[in-house]
């Protein structure tokens, strides 16, 4: 078990290193290969009006003339130790973890990310809770009542849920529930959890459900299929032969075995959730990482985009690490191998 954990930790760390390289490559190396001169890279930091001499100077100070390896080294060093950005006009200090410096807002990226993380986390965790609980519950019930009206209704809805894009379901529910019925606040409403938990939840309700709906549909279908298979297993028959009540047979024996593959999927999905969160945040104009990323892409603010990508990647790696560890707890057969 311990070696398994250590192996997974090393794996996760290696993954992060690779991701940082790839990200760095995409945003700094590829443009240079594609023909962007160090001056062109630097010009983003100094504005259009700058003279070629200034641009050259800044490019030098920002290290764009250095070999790629040195640039990467400085980038990593920035993450751990912070960095100084010297524009010639003045020195900006970017404390660790330095994810770079926005050349549009003139601010370090990390504090911005920190500001927006709670929004995205709230959205993601709430939605994840809803989709897992709702998806699994619906899946179990429709498996137990296979062919019933409930089964057909929920599976039909689930099929729609899988195929409808978020901005469509999001828009429709905004129109119906916020503008039409007035049950939920319109888009853009955000209250910090620490300020007012009830309002925090109330504001997030519609985004949660919209985002959860997409995933819940998949989980309901997966749980249903899994339960149908599991309930036909020999050990279910054994559980019944012991005289166990049907409810316990379903939950303790059936669901217990069905949950394992769902947990794996959950790890992947929770990591990928940031993608869904971007769309949801945009639809509901929530001030989260997704919205930040969209803005950053529009203004071509590379350090910001890169910051989001790195944080999102970390999210994926950490989520899958947690799930791998959970997996070992849940499935005793994993612990041996």
């Amino acid at each position: 078990m311990l070696t398994y954990i250590i192996r997974r930790l090393i794996g996760a760390f290696a993954m992060l290193v690779v991701i940082s390289m790839v990200t760095f490559g995409i945003f700094y190396v590829v443009p240079q290969w594609a023909g962007a001169t160090p001056e062109a890279m630097a010009s983003r930091y100094v504005g259009r009006a700058a003279t070629p001499e200034t641009v050259h100077l800044v490019a030098e100070r920002l290290g764009f003339y250095d070999p790629v390896v040195v640039q990467y080294g400085n980038f990593v060093k920035g993450l751990f130790a912070g960095a100084q950005y010297d524009y010639g006009a003045g020195v900006e200090h970017c404390p660790a973890p330095c994810f770079g410096y926005s050349f549009i807002t003139g601010q370090p990226v990390w504090p911005d990310l920190l500001d927006r993380l709670p929004v995205t986390f709230s959205l993601a965790i709430g939605a994840a809770l809803i989709w897992v609980v709702a998806g699994v519950a619906v899946g179990v019930l429709s498996a137990l009542r296979r062919g019933s009206f409930f089964d057909r209704l929920t599976m039909g809805t689930a099929l729609a849920g899988v195929s409808l894009p978020i901005f469509f379901t999001g828009m429709i529910s905004l129109v119906v529930f916020s503008y039409g019925l007035g049950w939920t606040p319109p888009g853009g409403a955000w209250t910090d959890f620490s300020e007012n938990p009830a309002e925090w939840a109330y504001n997030l309700l519609l985004p949660w459900i919209t985002l959860a709906f997409l995933f819940a549909a998949t989980y309901a279908r997966l749980t249903r299929a899994g339960m149908l298979e599991t309930m036909g297993e020999d050990y279910i028959r054994t559980a019944r032969a012991k005289g166990l009540r049907e409810r316990q047979v379903v939950v303790k024996h059936g669901l217990r075995a069905t949950l394992t593959p769902i947990l794996t999927l959950f790890g992947i999905d929770f990591g990928l959730l940031i993608g869904g969160a971007i769309l949801t945040e945009t639809t509901y104009t929530l001030p989260g990482l997704g919205q930040y990323a969209i803005l950053a892409i529009r203004t071509q603010d590379m350090p910001q985009v890169m910051g989001v990508v790195l944080v999102a990647a970390m999210f994926v790696v950490i989520a899958s690490l947690v799930v791998d560890l959970l997996y070992a707890v849940v499935d005793p057969r994993v612990r041996l191998s």
Partner: protein, 341 residues
């Protein structure tokens, strides 16, 4: 009435292809402390019968009729909840494949503890002690340590022992073992059978052993019931059925008994053909398409279902041939061939 008394049990499954008559009019009985062996090829309805006795077809699409009396109580008409409360306590079952029959995510101990606590209102600690105890009694070494192992950490034979420990944990009065040794290798098979015999003496329960190997039950059983296509074709004391069998199908089973020193293809009297369809059961005697003596009974073999008739002293046979004819065949043609094996 016997402790377990099954009367005219029918278990049919309506399917898209037609009505599957898995069990079609089966009657038998077992007393406490006695063993009944049920023998038949794959698909003859043995498992469906045992699941029927435990009431495990409820909620499925099976249609049951007939009577199942356990200790003076009728079970087919009883409520689902009542039958559930008897399961595991009064009647228990051991399944064929111990690996797939135990939950992969719970330790052997947890599964025995669960079985015990369903019917006994005791703390986990007490149940755990009981589980360790049971594991020791079925011959698992170091039970206090092995109780925390998962089923996949056990060998096949140990798993089946654990399964037996689980089934016996509530001291059932009726124990059904559905092919308890099929998944095991030969030496382990013998150990498990010995263990079952010893435990049965100790617990004085009624035991049903289901198998497709007559040899397995011959030694262990008091009575033997031979099933073919959902029906009983021969039923009697183990002595009668094993040493004086009168049904051609039983002769076939004896002739095709697995033997270590012989390849399956070299068996002396193999049963030709394949088991009958349970939807379109052959008319007349269900065994006639495969029976070497079908012509002897002429048209009757294909038109009239033979009755399960007593030949002598409680020995029942379902065949149109006369008793003398069957005895003659056995003594002069079958037995001499089998003895050369």
């Amino acid at each position: 009435m016997s402790f377990l008394d099954v009367k005219d049990l029918k278990i049919h499954f309506p399917t898209d292809d037609g009505l599957v008559k898995s069990v079609d009019g089966l009657s038998f009985g077992v007393e406490r402390g006695k063993t009944l062996g049920i023998v038949g090829e794959s698909g003859s309805g043995k498992s469906v019968t045992s699941l029927g006795i435990l009431g495990l077809h409820k909620g499925g699409r099976a249609r049951l009729s007939g009577e199942i009396w356990l200790d003076g109580e009728e079970l087919i008409g009883a409520s689902t909840e009542h039958v559930r409360s008897l399961r595991g306590k009064k009647m228990a079952m051991i399944f064929q494949d111990p690996l797939s029959s135990m939950h992969p995510y719970y330790t052997v101990g947890q599964q025995i503890i669960e079985a015990y606590r369903i019917h006994n209102d005791v703390s986990k600690q007490v149940a755990r002690k009981h589980a360790v105890d049971m594991l020791g009694r079925v011959g698992i070494p170091e039970p206090a340590r092995r109780v925390d192992s998962y089923p996949h950490e056990f060998s096949g034979g140990m798993r089946q022992r654990a399964m037996i420990a689980m089934a016996l944990s509530c001291d059932p009065e009726l124990l059904i073992a559905d092919e308890p040794t099929t998944a095991l290798d030969v030496t382990v098979q013998a150990q498990i059978l010995d263990l079952m015999r010893d435990l049965q003496r100790e617990f004085n329960s009624a035991l049903i052993i289901i198998t497709h190997d007559l040899g397995v039950v011959a030694e262990l059983s008091d009575d033997i019931l031979v099933m073919y296509g959902g029906k009983c074709v021969e039923y009697g004391s183990a002595e009668d059925v094993f040493y004086r069998p009168e049904h051609p199908y039983t002769w076939g089973l004896l002739g095709s008994m697995p033997r270590l020193d012989r390849e399956p293809t070299e068996r002396l009297l193999p049963i030709k053909g394949s088991p009958p369809s349970l939807i379109n059961v052959p008319p007349g005697c269900a065994f006639h398409p495969r029976c070497p003596y079908a012509e002897r009974t002429g048209d009757k073999a294909t038109t009239e279902v033979p009755a399960l008739a007593e030949t002598e002293g409680g020995h029942l046979v379902r065949c149109h041939m006369s008793r003398e004819e069957r005895r003659g065949l056995w003594e002069n043609e079958i037995k001499p061939v089998l003895e050369t094996q």
